[in-house]
């Protein structure tokens, strides 16, 4: 059975027509994980028994006539969503021993929708990284080329979906952590509007930027899963109480008449030529389908990276203070006193990139530096949001590349954090402005995939998904699998 070549929507249809059972489906993907995870390192925890138990419940629900659209569909969760009774490591030694006593809202909702959780995926430590190389559990390999990174921080989720070890996976996106890996492994990934999906139970990196989303082969799959994840959660004060549209029903909206703005700032010198050519071709395809394509400028957008690297570290320096060796997580052996407990537990528990960001964040919030860095960054953030607001006065969607280059070699950028940070140059803007954005496969440079990014106004997920879906009806990049995993 070639179950894994099917999209989530196709698997859901197969389950509905009783072509196969949820247990058979779970067993199929568990076998694939078993065979391939040694090479890819996409999962840090595989929960086979739990998955089969969930699958049996899904089959029972279907037999009882209580099945929903996702009942029995296997998924994987990025290892920063808390899962009751299953380790949530955040890719860190600090949480290598941490088992949350509760489920994140996203996990709870997907469980309630009947999905089957195969396990927890590898990630950059505390979601800080763009290559999945900062994980305590080692780098994830790109299924298209094992010498390359899969992107990050949701690198495990991205690789798992690209190699079809799971039909879909949850992710989080703070500065591009869903979109950039989705682009680098050739899958679709959506970061919803800030506040659309609850952050409760998501181990925080930068609270004002973090947003949960999903990675799957096709935009239509993302629509199906997002519908189950989205919605107001009274446990998250920043979640928005606003009805969730029927993303699946609205997928069919045509591109004709949709005004699409090409972001000038994203097509500058930093963009690798071959990648740029594929993105330009993809934009032309949108035009062929009737979209009205115009050039748009957001002049402050080039300030995204420096702004982000003040705001995100500031918030992370505070968010990660709770990891002090007192109540949970890593504790050093035989601390001499309180200071020793703190310094050694944190010194041993956190890796170098996390420490770099905690130090940066502590610095920018310090007395005497706060105004020059944190406050200034907040002002620039407002300017960037205003740029987007103006642009969305003229167009319905913005497009551009997701990442300046295809996947790069493992180890190529680890010693140069600034170059690494520039990977997110096109994705960070949407986080700073809280906008929904997604990446869809738009071609290959050599054997490596390239992603097209689409950005919509706040709560414009329906239009975003419909545009991506229209593009995918005309293209097959999202259907291609790496030869080794076909």
């Amino acid at each position: 059975m070639t179950l894994h070549t099917r999209s989530v929507a196709e698997l859901a249809a197969g389950l509905a027509h009783k072509e196969f059972s949820a247990v058979e489906l779970a067993e199929h993907f568990l076998a694939r994980i078993d065979a391939a995870n040694g090479a890819l390192n996409a999962f840090v925890t595989v929960t086979a028994e739990r998955a089969l138990a969930q699958a049996r419940r899904a089959d029972a629900a279907r037999a009882a006539g209580r099945a929903g659209p996702l009942t029995g569909v296997p998924i994987a969760h990025k290892d920063l969503f808390c899962t009751d009774g299953v380790r949530t490591s955040c890719g860190s030694r600090m949480l290598d021993n941490f088992v949350a006593p509760y489920d994140a809202t996203v996990v709870e909702r997907l469980d309630a929708a009947g999905t089957v959780s195969l396990g927890k995926t590898n990630m950059d430590e505390f979601a800080m990284g763009s290559s999945n190389e900062t994980s305590y559990y080692g780098p994830v390999r790109n299924p298209w080329d094992p010498r390359c990174v899969p992107g990050g921080s949701s690198g495990g989720s991205a690789a798992a979906v690209a190699a079809r070890l799971a039909p879909a996976a949850t992710g989080t996106d703070t500065g591009g952590s869903i979109r950039q890996p989705a682009a680098l492994v050739g899958v679709s990934g959506i970061k919803p509007t800030y506040g659309r999906v609850s952050r409760y139970g998501l181990v925080a990196f930068a609270s004002s930027l973090d947003q949960a989303g999903v990675l799957a082969p096709a935009a239509a799959d993302c629509a199906l899963l997002l519908a189950a994840m989205a919605g107001f959660d009274p446990r998250d004060s920043t979640s928005v109480d606003r009805p969730v549209p029927d993303y699946v029903a609205e997928l069919g909206a045509p591109l004709r008449g949709v005004r699409i703005g090409v972001l000038e700032e994203f097509l500058g010198p930093g963009l690798e030529a071959a990648t740029g050519a594929l993105v330009t071709a993809a934009i032309a395809e949108l035009g062929r389908q009737g979209a009205e394509v115009v050039a748009v400028s957001c002049p402050n957008l080039p300030l995204s990276v420096p702004t982000y690297y003040v705001v995100a570290p500031a918030e992370c320096s505070s968010n990660l203070s709770r990891f002090d060796g007192v109540r949970f997580g890593h504790r050093c052996r035989e601390p001499r006193d309180l200071t020793d407990l703190y310094t050694r537990s944190r010194g041993e528990g956190f890796g170098p990139e996390v420490k770099r960001r905690i130090m940066t964040g502590t610095y920018v919030l310090s007395a005497g530096y706060f105004d020059a860095y944190y406050l200034k960054a907040q002002k620039v953030r407002t300017l960037i949001s205003d740029d987007f607001k103006r642009a969305f006065g003229r167009v319905d969607l913005l497009v551009g590349p997701t990442s300046p280059t295809p996947a790069f070699a493992i180890g190529a950028k680890v010693d140069d954090p600034i170059t690494m940070y520039l990977n997110d140059i096109y994705t960070i803007g949407a986080n700073l402005a809280g906008l929904p954005a997604m990446s869809v496969p738009c071609g290959f440079v050599g054997q490596l995939p390239v992603g097209l990014q689409l950005i919509a106004p706040h709560f414009g997920e329906s239009r975003l998904l419909a545009a991506a879906h229209a593009y995918q009806l005309a293209t097959d990049f999202h259907r291609r699998l790496p030869a080794a995993y076909a």
Binding site: L80, Y102, R199, Y200, D236, S237, R322, D324, F328
Partner: protein, 488 residues
């Protein structure tokens, strides 16, 4: 001038009061706030700072802050911001405290106190802001280890910051008491200082009389009773003047008051002080307070202590002091008014009731450690007793005895009076008979009195009272005794 202030010096004090808000659940979680539960039994995942958990603001705490703001004539910020105060300590689970920094919910209020010279003085309230409390470190009974109890973590606090308008320890205490009374009137804090529901830090500095610049201040922590606030400030003022008169300089620092040794000691200096790295908490939206909410809260405001005291003075003919004592708590004031209502109109009755409430009732409550709500003689019972004084059934002296019996036995005044036969004797013949018996029994004293030893009169009063078991009407007894003793 306060005794600890030396000639030529002026004292400047500002207080930071932490009032624990009387909400049923914590400020950012649904955990209960009850005092005295088993350690960590009231600490949920949010209070423990578990990864992934998020704060959700308790609206009851917001309404209480608004209530305080309205009661002190302050501005209620239409939009205030929660900020994180970052520092590491084991009893601070998240590594930061959620507080308000640049934009507090309440700004610019005031309260009036009676200054030392008896004049009224307005004390400015700079701000009052909402924040969460930390947990507690426990060191007792744990050899080589420290325990952490996080039951208190996340308990809502209103931090009330005064202007540096206080000029003596006694003014500071008067202001502290005023706030204490107010928060209990508003029913936003139980005011229990032993349990830490109402705490105070004092910022103290001194300067030469006439100087306009403020001196360097020290912050005194851990002063948890009115008496200790006064003593700690006295000590600190004397210490600072000693340092300055000796040619030294005051170092800005945090000092701890040690009540056992009656002194303040340095805790940490400004150099060692934490850089709290305040920044807006991204997990919480700005707190928006709509005019509707303010008006709804305003409608729940009770008669405030000053208004009540003014009304008591005017309506019952009480001195400002007595009116102040009787309105120190809403419960006591209600008790007093219930007594007055039952005893009847007239300032004499009101004054009698005031004396009894402030005297015997308060003494009995203090002795037994009871709140007025738990008084063993209720307002109706006390009124019943006072009516028997008014109608001459018993004397004021016997009334004290009756009151004690009422307190002990929880019976009405009339039942006690009848059972113990304490009804006052106003029958002249009976009193005369008692006097005659006393005279007959004490011929020696009678002879001496009649020979001019006038001070023996008191002896005969005592003997005659004793003979009537204290029940003789005192005025009648005096009159008859004078007459009888004089007659040869």
């Amino acid at each position: 001038m306060s005794p600890s202030v030396r000639e030529g010096w002026e004292v400047v004090i500002g207080l930071e009061i932490h009032a624990q808000l009387a909400t049923a659940s914590k400020i950012f979680s649904g955990s209960a706030t009850a005092y005295g539960a088993a350690p960590n039994s009231q600490a949920g995942l949010v209070d423990l700072g578990y990864p992934g958990t998020l704060p959700v603001l308790n609206q009851a705490a917001v309404r209480m802050a608004v209530k305080f703001g309205l009661a002190t004539g302050a501005r209620i910020a239409p939009r205030s911001i929660f900020a994180r105060k970052n520092y590491f300590y084991p009893d601070l689970p998240k590594g930061y405290q959620i507080s308000q920094y640049e934009r507090p919910v309440v700004e610019g209020g005031s309260l009036e106190i009676v200054a030392e010279d008896g004049s009224r003085k307005v004390i400015g309230i700079t701000r009052a802001h909402l924040e969460e409390d930390a947990g507690k470190s426990l060191h007792e009974g744990l050899p080589d280890a420290s325990g952490i109890d996080l039951n208190r973590a996340g308990t809502p606090l209103l931090e009330i910051v005064s202007e540096p308008d206080l000029r003596s320890a006694r003014e500071a205490v008067a202001y502290l008491k005023k706030v204490h009374t107010l928060v209990r009137y508003l029913e936003i804090c139980d005011g229990n200082m032993q349990e830490g529901s109402f705490r105070c830090d004092a910022n103290v500095s001194v300067r030469r009389q006439g100087a306009t610049e403020l001196g360097t201040r020290c912050e005194i922590k851990n002063v948890n009773s009115f008496r200790y606030v006064e003593k700690a400030i006295h000590f600190e003022v004397a210490r600072q003047i000693d340092v300055l008169e000796g040619g030294g300089k005051i170092v800005q620092e945090t000092r701890l008051y040690d009540s056992a040794r009656d002194e303040t000691r340095p805790m940490r200096s400004k150099e060692e002080a934490n850089d709290y790295r305040y920044f807006p908490d991204p997990d919480l939206l700005p707190l928006a307070i709509e005019p509707d909410l303010i008006e709804a809260v305003r409608a729940t405001l009770p008669e405030l202590p000053d208004e009540k005291a003014g009304r008591f003075a005017a309506a019952y003919g009480l001195s400002p002091y007595d009116a102040g004592v009787l309105t120190a708590s809403r419960e006591l004031a209600d008790y007093y008014e219930a007594v007055v209502a039952a005893v009847g109109a007239g300032t004499a009755a009101a004054k009698l009731a005031a004396n009894w409430v402030m005297g015997d009732l308060s003494a009995a409550l203090n002795r037994d450690g009871l709140d007025v709500a738990a008084a063993r003689v209720g307002a109706t019972g006390l009124a019943g007793l006072l009516r028997r004084i008014q109608d001459d059934t018993i004397s004021g002296k016997i009334a004290k005895e009756v009151f004690e019996l009422m307190w002990a036995e929880q019976r009405p005044a009339d039942a006690v009076i009848d059972a113990k036969g304490l009804r006052q004797i106003t029958d002249g013949a009976a009193i005369e008979a008692a006097i005659e018996a006393v005279m007959a029994a004490n011929p020696k004293q009678l002879a001496e009195y009649r020979a001019g030893k006038d001070k023996l009169f008191g002896f005969f009063v005592g003997q005659a009272m004793k003979a009537t078991h204290g029940k003789a009407n005192p005025a009648q007894l005096n009159e008859l005794l004078l007459k009888k003793l004089a007659a040869p």
